[in-house]
Subunit: 310 residues, 2 copies
């Protein structure tokens, strides 16, 4: 496929995944999601919907959907897994925005959950989304094979937990008040946990859903790690350079808070060069899946992640 057509195909698929995810999340968080007898905690459900619907590029769902497609799986299996991952991503934003954490008022150009509702509701909305994600994955509607469901739960819990996202956030907060700044190795490790682990899960999930061979699964894992690292550097560059309006959240806050970033450690030029190298690594890993042109959309995804402007 020529370069322009590939880029166009990527954009079309990204939009399609975002629309499908939005509709599926809307249904999963709709009135039918709670069985008839249950008293509906209306305000909590509203806060969960507010924090999940109507925003974002849906990059993680897209990666689940396209990784699963690469291994022959489409439809509800991929989409439900994508929604579960997005719920966990959204819960983490709700909790990270809390006054006791990053204390942010703005997210995706709207008031953060605790500003639009209140702190107690934001804490519970995050807890509810995190819990519901595992409900969605473990449900037989996600996959016929219970081993696949249990493996998805395990991988998602590890990506989101103490050794992944939650642990990375704790290391990031600790670094803000530490006597000595994080080294480059520590920063990379923290970012791999905080941001990388969920992105890595997205592509691991595709391999799990599609029963990829061990070699293919390992190649997808390398792709996911490289893409996750590129994503984080691009994020750091955007925060250093971006403006609040384009980002839909406050820019420049990393430096202000003394957050550990690769831009701070390496400077902008070296950070950009490293980001380019990671895209090359991601593309090389995809080659090892043996899927040829079918992996083209994931090549585009790696380039998109590194070059994004918001």
């Amino acid at each position: 496929m020529p370069t322009d057509a590939r880029a166009e195909d990527f954009r079309r698929r990204l939009d399609h995944a975002a629309e499908a995810t939005e509709a599926a999340l809307d249904a999963l968080l709709g009135p039918a999601a709670l069985p008839g007898e249950i008293t509906r905690p209306a305000r909590l459900l509203e806060a969960m919907r507010y924090s999940t619907l109507g925003g974002g590029k849906r990059l993680r769902p897209f990666l689940v959907i396209e990784s699963a497609r690469l291994f022959g799986v489409e439809g509800a299996s991929a989409l439900r897994t994508a929604c579960a991952l997005e719920m966990i991503h959204c819960y983490s934003l709700v909790h990270d925005d809390l006054p006791a954490m990053d204390d942010d008022d703005l997210r995706r150009g709207r008031p953060t959950c605790h500003k639009a509702f209140d702190e107690a509701t934001a804490i519970l909305a995050g807890d509810g989304l995190l819990t519901y994600a595992f409900d969605v994955v473990a449900d037989p509607a996600t996959h016929d094979d219970a081993r696949v469901r249990a493996n998805l739960v395990l991988a998602l819990a590890r990506a989101a937990g103490l050794g992944g996202m939650v642990g990375g956030q704790a290391l990031d907060l600790a670094a803000e008040t530490a006597a000595t700044p994080l080294t480059q190795a520590e920063t990379l490790r923290m970012q791999a946990m905080k941001t990388g682990a969920l992105l890595r899960f997205a592509v691991d999930a595709g391999a799990l859903l599609g029963a990829a061979s061990p070699a293919q699964a390992a190649a997808m894992a390398r792709y996911g790690d490289a893409l996750g690292a590129a994503f984080q550097i691009a994020d750091d560059i955007l925060d250093a350079e971006g403006d609040t309006a384009a980002l839909g959240k406050r820019a420049g806050k990393d430096a202000e808070r003394g957050k550990a970033t690769l831009v701070g450690l390496l400077g902008l030029d070296a950070a950009r060069a490293r980001c380019d190298q990671l895209v090359n690594d991601a593309v090389a890993a995809l080659r090892d899946t043996g899927k040829g042109d079918a992996a083209g959309v994931l090549v585009e995804a790696a380039q998109f992640v590194a070059a994004r402007r918001n």
Copy 2:
């Protein structure tokens, strides 16, 4: 077995379950729990241990262990499921104690997690415990059969989520500031979600682990519902009557805050009578499991829950 011997047997088993749970939680949250490569978020892990170890009657783990034993399952399967449930119970206490929620300084006679650490750490410790619970249940070490693991994840997520504990907490908080107090039916429903759902899961888990027949599983569910309701009334009575030293948390706070309780709605005597009736219901449900004397320890558990003084 004579009454005294049964009570003694119950106490011995309750203590044994508490010791086994403490040791298993200590191992699950020990250094070996994080694979070698991972940077340890030391303070977060410490907060998770602080919030989980060294306290509590471990009633929920005991119920998992004894319900599983009733259906022929012992050892790691029951103990790991018990630990996962206890992690979710402990996470809920950490988040409920936060300033934005119940704003409590004291829990089990010690400073609450956000007092001993800080609010951000307490939020993340709760998130980490909730996530880790699903990791533990989904791990093949919990059960050979992936269907059982996936079903446990599903049941646990539903008990803990929007239609269960988290939803109940939201309804409880909403009731504090509502224009009209909750009716009796609404109070019962809120309590069944907030407190009852996890206790019900404990006994459902035993039936799931032991592949109980549908009729037996239904009987266990009825037992769990009755026991959960009795537990909550006993809790309300304790809060109305108890003293802070014996409870290890502040007494009298329900009335102070205008919380919806059955004691407030019915008065102490009628609440006590209702609690006794629920114990009878629980015992009748156990009879329907067809397990005879083997269920004696769970009969004692229902009586213990209703009569407890802290």
